[in-house]
Symmetry: none
Subunit: 229 residues, 2 copies
């Protein structure tokens, strides 16, 4: 999941946000001043900066400018937190390049939704992707459909993600650890044997194409290219 830098001098609020974002699967980092925020951002580039407009040292706008001026951090997403009375500053916030704003007081649920929405927008600018095709297999991410030899085959959501991940990495072995992290998500502390079970279930559904999903003993799994020898 994504990494969020939370910048707010009200510690209680910052920690409340922190707690909830972690609960929603984000990794987080806190900063209580503008300087600390910039330092933290330089240390570990966040995906999103949640930025209070009013800070003791630099204003949120200043922080915003500094971020945008840094070539490393230029493309970070910035969400401004503003109190109602600071409306006029909002416009300036957008002028210096905030990507979204949330007005205090806000519900945490709304904040989480906004964050997800903005991440989704930035990561998937395209509404539809071309399907992944590979020999007898075709996986259409946009429609969320999967075909074996032209026959639609129903996969569960998890199986679909697993298949997508493997097909997108054609020929490359994926270790169980990699799969756990990238298909299941960071927070999952599962038995690695669980993966075996899901691979088996996938193979069942692959039918005649089951040979394309290979085991690499002691390492992991991979999809092989049927065209390559």
């Amino acid at each position: 999941m994504s990494h969020v830098l939370i910048v707010d001098d009200e510690r209680d609020l910052a920690e409340l946000i922190d707690f909830n974002l972690r609960g929603a699967g984000f990794s987080t980092r806190l900063a209580f001043t503008g300087e600390a925020a910039l330092e933290a951002a330089r240390e570990q580039s966040p995906d999103v900066v949640l930025l209070d407009l009013m800070l003791p040292d630099l204003s949120g706008i200043e922080v915003c400018r500094h971020l945008r001026a840094n070539s490393q951090l230029r493309d970070v997403l910035i969400v401004m937190l503003t109190a109602k009375s600071e409306e006029a500053d909002r416009i300036r916030g957008f002028e210096v390049g905030a990507d979204d704003y949330v007005v205090k007081p806000f519900s945490v649920r709304e904040l989480v939704l906004r964050l997800k929405a903005i991440l989704r927008r930035s990561s998937a600018p395209k509404d539809s992707l071309p399907p992944l095709a590979l020999g007898p297999l075709r996986l259409d991410v946009t429609a969320h459909r999967f075909y074996v030899e032209g026959q639609e085959t129903s996969l569960t959501a998890l199986e679909f993600r697993l298949m997508e991940h493997l097909m997108a990495r054609l020929g490359r072995v994926q270790t169980r650890e990699q799969l756990l992290e990238e298909v299941w998500g960071l927070s999952s502390a599962l038995e690695t044997r669980t993966i075996d079970t899901h691979v088996m279930r996938l193979r069942d559904k692959l039918g005649s194409a089951r040979a394309l999903l290979e085991t690499v003993r002691g390492v992991g799994y991979r999809i092989v290219d049927p065209a390559a020898g």
Copy 2:
């Protein structure tokens, strides 16, 4: 001359616009909140609503929807004022039926020109969108009517938007989060289960065609193409 309702919570800006529009011969009325805007519009139907996207209570998009949902006010012209130059917001603005948009900061001169242009355009016959047709379903955006097997079926405003959104994305799965963001609007922090309820209500109204609205477990919903057997 035409009557313009100016909706912006930044009073200074609203009054600046007001002053200039009066100078250009428009009659005007001000509203500083979404609620006030709706009330004012109900009281005295304006020819144009100049609508800030960001308001303290309802978002501009919400206001837009309310206006479009009201039979008296459905045909009012709406010009969105937005600080975001982002394509996504423009598109959403247009989706809910804004007739034009102006990006802040704008020159007052430009604003007046745009207003005049749009009033001129609207007096000409309204260009209509072709209805979305799909097997037994037909959704006429322009007339705001919906037919199942040729039979008109009444949908609520929300159901209509949901159906329109899904039909316009034929075959593509829409996640609950996407739907929340794009049909309901970002400002609404709803339970995702709310969507289920509305999908159910929609299915009821679809009657024999209910199978066209598919659930993709763990992902979202999609409309299937009856032609793609």
